[in-house]
Symmetry: C2
Subunit: 309 residues, 2 copies
């Protein structure tokens, strides 16, 4: 194989109460990457599109190529690779843009070398790429983008990624307003200490959300989708959040939260029709604040990264 | 009906990572209470056995009668009641002794009045009794003792008790060493603030434990049974805990933790035989420290409080 084209999906991390431990993949949007073997050695970024010039072409400053390099080092490979990265999703959106690039890169490189490692084995290299963007090792975006599905990152020592079953007919709608939030800055606002009382509330909700998803109990899912620690801080950065959330719930959403560090906002819904209606209601609510937005609707993506050609 | 005899089971709360939000009931030990209608008004404690004179006969200073009084007040009843409380379980054990008394009392009173309220509706009155012992409203012991099963207290505003399915063949073994720990004092040792990093570890484990229980994944249950916040503090009060825990795991336990605020220690096991073996190993480990102990083995009790006659 001389070249390969791969898609890696956008992801919603945190999922209300599950800061740093939960994430799931969307059918769209996502990143496409093309890798072409080249005579000689080393990785060269030949093209990046769809990001309005915001990403670096330096190989050591792009999550896709950092992830690829980390993988190639581990495999003892030093082939020449030309990289074409097509961002088909917004940057700084809270939808795991950097993770999707890292996953697309490492998944494509592994396929190009004949699929020597399993998906699970690729996770550390994708996390290495993601680290460039978030400043630390996180798997709550890269794991679902790579593996698909709803993933609980139970722990990091060692990394323990658990697939959580979700209601078959559940649809997600996401609204992405035209506001940019920097992940590192957003993390910097968080207190390093939390009140035990609030931590207890949070892990009660985490238990409830996991139980609700597995047992398809929408009532329990909705009651559990409360983040008493992170979201109150992040909502302050997100003009109109309370109104948009209320509009979503009024339109029939099971629950609503900030996706990652925002500004995207996600909802769970009992069916496709409600997801569309809820998406429209959120877009409308942002518009009354003078903020334009995009809507994405999909089931929870179960495939993760896929080869396009 | 002129008199009634009720049993309410002991309970294991916290369940490793689930401080204040998880608990389950045991088949044994537990409390028995007899209520007899008497001419006139007011509650009188006629007898308490099995507690070596440690409990008060004052109606406003006993969890059973406080719970009964709270129930009778709500129902607008002012009948005469004689109370006979038989503690068939250790006090200050971490096995929910005060909760079992409160549950037995309120469940018996309701049955005596013809079962006017449902089990769920009795919960607030049992919590009122429990408050006398723990100093605050908690449901992680009273809910499983009253309702049976493994219960997640998702939240308190309003009280939201969720039943969690558990593996059918799972057996619990509990060792209760001859040490007494006061619940209020044990709670007083806890920091009111926790590091966000540790809180994240905790809620990752909470999610993993709930998922593992529902999907009968013993590996995940075991990996998730880590408490990085409460147990390190409480283990200091509990001479020999580390050795006992290790002995339990070596003997085949799926996981091991302190029951409530201790000193009882509980384990989950894949079958009855292992539970017995693990119980023996824990008892042996305490004996090498010169500490005697009792062992209790049972499935997770699914009935909760029951009428004995």
């Amino acid at each position: 194989m001389e070249s390969i084209k791969v898609f890696a999906p956008a992801t919603v991390a945190n999922v209300s109460c599950g800061f740093d431990v939960m994430g799931f993949a969307l059918d769209n949007p996502g990143d496409e990457i093309i890798l072409k073997k080249r005579n000689g050695k080393g990785i060269v970024i030949q093209e990046i599109t769809g990001e309005e010039g915001k990403l670096s072409n330096a190989v050591d400053n792009n999550t896709a190529t950092v992830a690829i390099q980390s993988y190639l080092n581990h495999m003892g490979e030093n082939i020449g690779l030309d990289v074409y990265l097509h961002k088909k999703m917004p940057l700084g959106s809270g939808l795991g843009s950097s993770a999707a690039s890292a996953v697309a890169g490492v998944f494509a490189a592994n396929e190009l070398l004949g699929g020597k490692l399993s998906r699970d084995e690729l996770l550390p290299f994708a996390m290495e790429g993601e680290k460039l963007a978030s400043g630390d090792y996180h798997a709550d975006n890269v794991a679902p983008s790579l593996l698909g599905g709803f993933r609980l990152i139970r722990g990091y020592d060692p990394v323990d990624v658990v697939q959580i079953a979700t209601p078959e007919n559940m649809w997600v709608s996401v609204v992405h307003p035209a506001i940019e939030i920097n992940t590192k800055e957003a993390r910097g606002l968080l207190n390093k200490e939390v009140a035990l009382k609030k931590a207890i509330q949070q892990w009660g909700n985490v238990g409830g959300l996991i139980a609700g998803l597995i047992t398809e109990d929408y009532g329990l899912i909705g009651r559990s989708m409360k983040d008493v620690i992170i979201e109150p801080v992040r909502a302050k950065l997100l003009n109109g959040y309370d109104a948009v959330r209320q509009a979503a719930l009024d339109a029939g959403a099971v629950g609503c939260g900030i996706s990652g560090s925002g500004p995207a906002i996600f909802t769970f819904n009992p069916d496709e029709q409600t997801a569309q209606k809820v998406g429209d209601a959120m877009q409308e609510a942002f518009l009354t604040k003078g903020i334009t937005s995009n809507i994405y609707c999909s089931r929870i993506n179960q495939q993760g990264a896929v080869v396009l050609g």
